[in-house]
Symmetry: C2
Subunit: 341 residues, 2 copies
Amino acid sequence: MKLASLKSGGRDGLLVVVSRDLVTCQAVPKIARTLQCALDNWDEVAPQLEKIYARLNAGSADKAESFIEEECHSPLPRAYQWCDGSAYINHVELVRKARNAEVPESFYSDPLMYQGGSDSFVGPCDPIAVLDEAWGVDLEAEVAVVTGDVPMGATVEEAAGAIRLVMLVNDVSLRNLIPNELAKGFGFYQSKPASAFSPVAVTPDELGDAWKDSKLHLPLQVTLNDEPFGRPNAGEDMTFSFAQLVAHAAKTRELGAGSIVGSGTVSNKQGSLHGSSIANGGVGYCCLAEVRMYETIEGGKPATPYLAYGDTVRIEMVDESGASIFGAIDQEVVRYHRRTT
Amino acid sequence: MKLASLKSGGRDGLLVVVSRDLVTCQAVPKIARTLQCALDNWDEVAPQLEKIYARLNAGSADKAESFIEEECHSPLPRAYQWCDGSAYINHVELVRKARNAEVPESFYSDPLMYQGGSDSFVGPCDPIAVLDEAWGVDLEAEVAVVTGDVPMGATVEEAAGAIRLVMLVNDVSLRNLIPNELAKGFGFYQSKPASAFSPVAVTPDELGDAWKDSKLHLPLQVTLNDEPFGRPNAGEDMTFSFAQLVAHAAKTRELGAGSIVGSGTVSNKQGSLHGSSIANGGVGYCCLAEVRMYETIEGGKPATPYLAYGDTVRIEMVDESGASIFGAIDQEVVRYHRRTT
């Protein structure tokens, strides 16, 4: 089943069930007004939503409306938790190699994970708004899951069963703020502005064979200023599955329903800078930092700039027939202006 | 005005207005069912809540009920953001001194802040539940504020004006998990289990002269196993005011209404181990780590153990007449057991 939240519903959006082909949708206020509400009561609510989904796909829904991605907020416009792993160790290996450092052995068994801000996500087609280009704006294309309630100390198997939804995310980073912030020792805060998620979140069963061992085995398509930039397979080189990431998150505390757990920047192992870009036959990248690390490793310094005002980023994933699964994250970098109220 | 959330309201609690003396309360479902709902619509809702508050205090409320702290969840049982500063640099100085390291000069102008988990707080009288005593359970008694919406790049003055509520918090830490986790570079995650907040959150005006320059100038009373453990003044030695902490948090992103910003462990400058305990005439401590740092600095190693199963922690603040302002956080350390559903 596919779910989205329309901006018309206010701070938490209006939950709609979306047809598989992303053409129609239906609000379900009598079942659950918001996605958080559905997640809070999932066992009771999900079967009812599935019925609506079946009718939408059959063209027999009586209240179907056109589904418009631009009218969507992120599926959870604000969430009680957003934590992000670094499951693609290749990315970490490149970071370290670029500064001539070793990857600690423990990184292959103990996931890196940071607690992100979840109070003010932006919509999938909203701009990446920053006050200063010099902060070093970078995209990070990732996959993320939404959990139900998870008990403290959940096993990996239990964690796998607690995954309710899958979606895409652009976990924007302010690269030039990261070194100082991490040097302080308490992790990211200012260097991680608002993330955006794909218009649609889907249940794992919707992904068919592509969802296996709690990994999503399909290429993640990233387009930068209308040029292909990345298409690494999100199921490859993922050192930690989503179930492992969720279990890591639940080691010392319960996770509340609606917790979002991210994969970290998707990254496939490739040989070198020359062969890694899509133009040269590689699978490309899911963040600019990765190109810059290849450049640093091979040329001593980065050459590709971070994002500038006016740059556009599109993140999408298609099924084997070429149809978009989650809709597209489609953002432009702009200067932030305060909302007028 | 004083506000609380009763557990009877479910995941988000039932908002009640509480009388100044914490004796009576009244639910206000027609005005706002939950505290988050009130914060989302504060300008419209607050004046209506103030009227109920005035009636409660005058003894003329028609629907007043007894207020029972044990029936409370944290004022926001789950929140969209919980970030915690380290505003009392004395604490950081002791940490560094205990390992013979200098405090970077930037720490006096650029606050340390970490993003905490906010999806599953526990109630003020709920146990501190852990799976393993060996994790090194420590209390951290702090003050926290709840904000309204804050625009990106808000000035310190604007941030001060966005502070809606003040409360107390026990930001439990798992000390023995911290070194490994911070060494990974991404900040705290597993080492910060669920926090608990005081039963009652109050508007800044309720604090009178004690709320000055966005600091709360009253002693924070910490009791450990029924013995006085700390009473440092939360208004002293606070290097960064709450307004500065909120402005720091909003530098690169908007803060959503209901964001909780903490002060970090309250800590006053004291001379040495001998003179710092309450028994020896000092103001004591708000976490066990601080005693242990004094012990390490003076004796080479810590002597005081972390919390064990059965230990109790009480955190409270009283006004000049001796009346409790926020009610008490009153927790016992226990082994975690899964909820039966």
